[in-house]
């Protein structure tokens, strides 16, 4: 559970490539000790720019931020020595995987013996033991990504920034790494994590900020986002016997009256006549109604199910809403000031 202590706080932080052309704007967010904060967004939403801003690779052009008590603009080395950063682009030295790990630890001033032990730990954890003598460019795409994360974990840090660290990883490696990161967060490491794989964010992140066209349009827990933006969900009712045509038509009509959208049954299924599927924003409240409807007609229902709200549907809902907003506020959508979703820059802590 993250503590209340804020290790990172931004206030209206922004970065403009050119005057008036913002990659990120009005970012106000806080990160607590031991918290995993996810940054979600479409390509070009500003996730990588945010990571680069918060790690001092880019200078903010507006707003303020403090990281571990240091001003982002002036903190420099004193600030960066507490950060770990896995950038989106692959970086490597022209030596073996194992030497890369120990050399990187040397750069960070990790004592030689500690570095040796940690390299062994990382090689095992990231399943790179078999490749320790290989050069990083000779690794597969997934191995190279694992190597990037492993190398960063060679030194101590208070905040770890991970910019799409699981791209190209297989499901087992991904789960293993996420579990490790979760454990590290439990022991106090704060993590900022960007990804396009939404169930990953769902699994790892305590809170998720959704960026769109350079602004944070939402910040909440995964459950909170699903509840707010999850939208319509699918309901499936399976009757014990095929529904007579007139009853099916009657049910369809009443569901449509209640705002549901009927889903076409799969013709190829023999059991299609026993099934009714629909989508509704009020899925939960329709279940008791459907049960009563069947009971009143002496129809036996085998089972009813509602698909779980997914972060993906919530994400799509948020982006859809934001796009509608930006279309209304500006005739030219884009990263230009004034063309972004209204209210997107509200304070999020």
């Amino acid at each position: 559970m993250p503590s209340a202590e804020l290790v990172l706080e931004t206030n209206d932080l922004g970065y403009a490539y050119r005057p008036g052309q913002f990659a990120i704007r009005h970012l106000s967010v806080g990160l607590r000790k031991g918290e995993v904060l996810g940054l979600l967004g479409r390509n070009g939403a500003g996730k990588t720019t945010t990571v680069r801003l918060l790690t001092t690779l880019l200078p903010p052009t507006e707003g303020t931020a403090t990281v571990l008590g240091h001003d982002l603009r002036t903190g420099g080395r004193a600030l960066r020595q507490h950060l770990g950063v896995v950038l989106q682009s692959e970086s490597l030295d022209f030596v073996s995987v194992e030497r890369n790990l120990t050399l990187y630890a040397f750069l960070w001033g990790v004592p030689r013996e500690v570095a040796k032990g940690r390299a062994e730990e990382m090689l095992e954890l990231f399943e790179l033991g078999h490749a320790r003598q290989r050069k990083p460019w000779a690794l597969s795409g997934g191995e190279r990504r694992r190597f990037q994360v492993a190398r960063e974990l060679m030194h101590d840090m208070s905040i770890l920034f991970l910019d799409e660290p699981t791209v190209g990883l297989d499901a087992i490696a991904r789960r293993r790494i996420l579990r490790y990161l979760k454990d590290r967060a439990r022991s106090g490491l704060s993590i900022v994590f960007t990804t396009h794989i939404l169930h990953e964010a769902d699994m790892l992140c305590d809170r998720i900020a959704v960026l769109h066209l350079g602004r944070a349009i939402a910040l909440d827990t995964s459950e909170g986002l699903k509840a707010k933006y999850g939208g319509a969900r699918e309901v499936l009712a399976v009757f014990a016997a095929p529904l007579p045509a007139e009853l099916r038509a009657q049910l369809a009509g009443e569901l449509v009256e209640r705002g549901a959208t009927l889903l076409a049954p799969s013709e190829e299924l023999e059991s299609a006549a026993t099934r009714v599927a629909f989508r509704s924003a009020e899925a939960e409240s329709l279940l008791p109604w459907l049960s009563q409807w069947a009971h009143a007609r002496h129809l036996e229902v085998d089972r009813m199910s509602v698909e779980a709200a997914s972060l993906e549907s919530a994400f799509l809902g948020m982006i859809g809403e934001a796009d509608d907003g930006s279309a209304e506020s500006s005739p030219v959508p884009g990263r230009v000031e004034g063309a972004l979703a209204p209210g997107g820059g509200g304070r999020l802590t």
Partner: protein
């Protein structure tokens, strides 16, 4: 005990980017030039042209001066590769200042040049005998190569911050290297018969001052012109270093090819 950041970066520069083949080629090429070119041209070039010594003995100080380019090229390439493989970004996101990274590159260049000076002097011994270096002469040789190395490192690093294509960087670097060497007094002296326009170009080239000064130091004939040459080199090295420092401040860390 933790080394200072600049030294950690220098150790990393040597450990990570200088494979044995590169080192052998970088030092081997001028060494072979001394042996082969020196021997062959000594048989056809009169010592009157080279100021009384054999051509090989004339060439050795030139190859010593050439080490400032070797060092500069090494650190320029190191920087380019770091940029290409995103290590610049990675280092900048760590506990280092940009100035320390630049300082690390320049120090790497310096060390490489000075090792090269030693190797060239050893390789040249059979041709030059023990050079008549006074303490002032030795200091001038080291200082000249050091300043020249800073100049070329600064120049190539500045270039590396502005270019986004490996082809462009390596083409310009090769062209510059060739141009600078052949338009200097490394291989031949400027004499009264040298075309005036060419002589002017020669004297606009810092390598000319370096080669001439080192030759004078080897021959024990240091004069005021050598100190002037050193002053010009110092100015050029300062300008190139400041240009590189400025370029670092405004460098775009985005992807390059």
């Amino acid at each position: 005990m933790k080394l200072p950041p600049v030294l950690r970066l220098v150790v990393r520069n040597f450990a990570s980017n200088l494979d044995p083949l590169t080192v052998v080629i970088r030092f081997g090429q001028p060494a072979v030039t001394i042996i082969v070119l020196g021997t062959m041209f000594s048989t056809i070039i009169s010592s009157a042209v080279t100021g009384g010594s054999s051509y090989a003995a004339f060439l050795v100080p030139g190859m010593v001066a050439f080490q400032m380019i070797t060092g500069g090229v090494v650190s320029g390439n190191l920087f380019w590769l770091d940029r290409r493989w995103s290590m610049v970004e990675q280092v900048f996101s760590g506990p280092f200042l940009r100035s320390e990274y630049l300082g690390g590159l320049v120090l790497t260049s310096l060390l490489f040049s000075l090792v090269g000076v030693g190797i060239m002097m050893v390789v040249g011994l059979p041709f030059t005998g023990l050079p008549g270096l006074t303490p002032e002469g030795a200091a001038l040789v080291l200082l000249t190569v050091a300043l020249g190395s800073i100049f070329f490192a600064g120049l190539l690093i500045t270039l590396g911050t502005r270019l986004r294509s490996a082809n462009a960087y390596f083409s310009i670097q090769s062209f510059l290297q060739l141009f600078v060497i052949f338009l200097s007094t490394v291989y031949y002296p400027v004499t009264s018969r040298t075309p005036r326009a060419l002589a002017l170009v020669f004297y606009a080239n810092p390598l000319t001052y370096a080669a001439n000064s080192i030759r004078d130091a080897f021959g024990g004939t240091l004069g005021i012109s050598d100190l002037q040459g050193l002053g010009i080199l110092a100015l050029l090295a300062t300008a190139a270093f400041l240009a590189a420092a400025w370029a670092f401040r405004s460098m775009d860390l985005g992807p390059i090819q």
